[in-house]
Assembly symmetry: C4
Amino acid sequence: MSEKQLTIPEIYAKGKENLERAGVDWVYPPGRKLGPSVKANRKYLDSLFFEPKFFDPVDVDTSFTIFGAKLRTPVFCAAITRQPYMSETSLAEIARGVADAGSLIMLGIGGSPDLQSAIDTGAPVVKVVKPYRNTELIYEKVRDAESRGCVAVGMDIDHFYGLLKGDRVEMTETFSPQRTSELKQLISQTKLPFIIKGVLSVSDAEKAVQLGASTIIVSNHGSGSFDFSVPSMVALPKIVDSVGNKLTVLVDTGFETGNDVFKGLAFGAKAVGLATPMILAWAADGSRGAELLINQVTAELRRTMGGAGCTNLSAIKRATIIKMPLIQE
Amino acid sequence: MSEKQLTIPEIYAKGKENLERAGVDWVYPPGRKLGPSVKANRKYLDSLFFEPKFFDPVDVDTSFTIFGAKLRTPVFCAAITRQPYMSETSLAEIARGVADAGSLIMLGIGGSPDLQSAIDTGAPVVKVVKPYRNTELIYEKVRDAESRGCVAVGMDIDHFYGLLKGDRVEMTETFSPQRTSELKQLISQTKLPFIIKGVLSVSDAEKAVQLGASTIIVSNHGSGSFDFSVPSMVALPKIVDSVGNKLTVLVDTGFETGNDVFKGLAFGAKAVGLATPMILAWAADGSRGAELLINQVTAELRRTMGGAGCTNLSAIKRATIIKMPLIQE
Amino acid sequence: MSEKQLTIPEIYAKGKENLERAGVDWVYPPGRKLGPSVKANRKYLDSLFFEPKFFDPVDVDTSFTIFGAKLRTPVFCAAITRQPYMSETSLAEIARGVADAGSLIMLGIGGSPDLQSAIDTGAPVVKVVKPYRNTELIYEKVRDAESRGCVAVGMDIDHFYGLLKGDRVEMTETFSPQRTSELKQLISQTKLPFIIKGVLSVSDAEKAVQLGASTIIVSNHGSGSFDFSVPSMVALPKIVDSVGNKLTVLVDTGFETGNDVFKGLAFGAKAVGLATPMILAWAADGSRGAELLINQVTAELRRTMGGAGCTNLSAIKRATIIKMPLIQE
Amino acid sequence: MSEKQLTIPEIYAKGKENLERAGVDWVYPPGRKLGPSVKANRKYLDSLFFEPKFFDPVDVDTSFTIFGAKLRTPVFCAAITRQPYMSETSLAEIARGVADAGSLIMLGIGGSPDLQSAIDTGAPVVKVVKPYRNTELIYEKVRDAESRGCVAVGMDIDHFYGLLKGDRVEMTETFSPQRTSELKQLISQTKLPFIIKGVLSVSDAEKAVQLGASTIIVSNHGSGSFDFSVPSMVALPKIVDSVGNKLTVLVDTGFETGNDVFKGLAFGAKAVGLATPMILAWAADGSRGAELLINQVTAELRRTMGGAGCTNLSAIKRATIIKMPLIQE
């Protein structure tokens, strides 16, 4: 981490400033509203501290292998979609930054050109398919992802009942609940590892195991799914205790810093996704901004791992986290 | 739920705007003061999350039968009274919206014309009688309700000691505590189901059973009864555990959204009342506003039921609710 | 309680307004600073709710006998002192209001004329003597109180180490710690009941018993003693459990309303003192203001007692109080 | 404590005013940002109350011996460094105030002239050496401290991974993690008592014992080390329970008042360091400000010790502290 580069808060501030200058006073769907789950998640993250172990110093390794891709960091770009204020090359710019940082990117709604341009950067790309009412469209999207070279494919089950944009539910005609029997067939037919995104209960996590999923993402979909779904960091430990030895558990929603990532890993996730922060980083400085953000978040993670005496990602145990004693202000 | 219609927050905002334009800077008695109990109830509601179970999707049924009326929703219009800024047709407009939404309306203080005009809309109407010092007046009101076709009649026992309008206690000369022996006689003499409204303790709930009441409403009467009576959502589970199999338990005070209703049902209520929100909805768009609010609240309830894997109202269990772990901010 | 009279909040607002009009932007020593203990006490009071028991209605009696005086209310005027903005007749005006309300008044620092003028109103008067370094002065003050007809005499032990006025400690040369042996002698020599004021620990409460005190006041002295002494409502239940059957336990600091008084009684105090509120009530309307405040606070207490099914003061049990479940906002 | 002198809050206010007048709108590195750990520590301190024991009064002794120096107070000047807005004589001015108050001062980064000028005031001076990558430089600094007459020497291990200035990590090239084997050798070679500063876990505390350290300082380095290291007051009791009988445990970070110091001592520290407050006090009135602050903080400590019945520092037990019952606001 160069000491001259923008810090994490500076990246976010510059990204916001640039977007506002361009007339965009919001960043990412679903609208301007920060939902209760994501707010609760952020507060929860900010309430967690770590116990330093400065003795004896350790060499820190943040590398991480998933879907056959060897990454330099457990910080990945969670599923993003091209926004109205983006151009046709924007997602590719983010992907290039992700590639340069040695990380991985997930893409949400969007066509083949966006997907291809991201893959062309050399970044490992995951395609997250929507739960379309039109089953054939799902298969088509999955086959497209396979053929273009995605490293994995997935579905966000928290959009079964439409997406939440601010206070408004949208896409209820286009999306639809999917039965496990249907998904099991889909998963068995693709050669790619399959991700179930939006798991927040042990029940759904266990069903993901039965479906043959390789990975789940514990996620509130930012503020884009349900206002009062249990915050991902609250749901995470129970889910890890239940299925952590049967598939890979990732987490997202509300993570912003290296310390946040440290806490997500301590609660049992194998990697942590950032979505809105990646858009802000891109708005701050294009592909270099995206790269820088992952580098800076990873640098802070590495420093905290050092301070906590953790030599690699699996050494970050839940017991490293200290919860503040509850007080009455 | 049409995606083009006003959302719940938009309905409230428009209702407030319209009232303010008409020079009304308050909405509903008791005055402008939001009491401690209703504030605590709202905070409590906002602290509760639900555990999603997206697998396997269920068909959701929100229908609900009470007092012989088959309703399409467990969201009803809690007891309201004609306000100074309302005309002689306002309550009927609200009742018409309630009827169109397939719900039920309760009316408080007011004369026979208000009652009749509501009944004429076809909505199931409940008359809640005040605990008058003049016993004959109580019998008169009950007989009037019977003869006009109310589906049930009740009494708000939390007005035994007058009503609270802001910081001022009023009607202490008009209202009076009622003995169980007196109420038992009244209840035995009416053919209508009888509701005890304002129950907040197991003690009073058990007495309601002994009185022969068919239904209780766990309620703080908004801010209109006692400043520091235990918030209804706090009192609810204990009361349901005690008498839930002996009579029907409803709840109100502070509920605003479909997620709120979901939480009230999860804590054991069979249906949830909205009062101030219904006035705001009427102020927003008359009878169509009232209908829309119930529809939108029910739509949100239905969506959350889907996300929580609840096929009907009785499937919404207390265990579906997750309380945020306490943190120190 | 007349419905036309000022409410409790209105009394306080008018008192503040009158004082500000007279150029006084503070009310009562110690200065303008609200200390941590009194703030914590107020927050604690506001977090407590009561469980209504509307069935069956009871006749409510708030009468209370102490020091041989039969009072109509357990709300008394806690020890006050003539302030710079008061005239020579001000304390007598407050005492007259207290007498008219059927209550009792305690006086702090001040000379014989203030004491005599208060006694002349017919109110039961208690003299609270400071812990003077000059022992003879203490005896002189006690004898003066005896001869003029006070119903009891006491000492505020929380001023052993001076008083706190804002951030400044004063009177450390004038006041001094008193040994139990000295106080035991003093108490044995006066025929009046003796009050130890400022008890906040079981240890000091037990010593008060050994000293032969008739009464203790669990008190933080408002903000006038120690910034971080344990709030009186927190200390109260333990002290009552320990010595409640051996002497009379009173409480003050931060109480403002009838609901507050109800909570203090529920935690085991026999009566509750108001100091700053009494000054505000006097500033609002002289002796009539003082009378009105006690009446209104007692009226709210009586109403809540009715709502909680408490027929007299000793029926207000700790179990009547419900603490809000802790939530994460 | 003279009643005419500035109070503690007045000292801080005047110091800030003077600095702002001189164009300095921040006080102390690392920058203007108050980190999460120091904020949490302050909140935690403010949530703790003490149980008064006014009977029987005790004589209070705040004297304290450490590193062979007999101090009049357990309030010391935690490690400070010459700031850009200071002159060459500023640190000596602070040291003179410390000497006059009968306390001790610790110095951080800085050259021999600063160190010598502080020692020349007669104050006991401790040199805290940075964990330089250049081992020879460490030995040089330690030898310099020995030869000039420091009473002890130490190292802040929380700077192994650079220092945090606002959101920016600095000095990562200059500082470096130190192995216990290296430190053990250093400690064995100096005749001075050795302090390990920045201990926040039992693990590191036990290693400090093995290293032969005489003293540890439980510290977050203000906001200058890690954003989310466990607050020192949270870490303190466990560490004292583990190693308190094997070496001397001190504490700092966020302490401002005599009541704060009382709480730190009650949680097991032998003395409590103030850094930023000392700079403010110097800015308020030079060496006299520094002396006054220590005197006033000590006076408040002494008064609270009196009120809590503590005759000397070791009488301040953990049980003296009462935590507010948790409430829901």
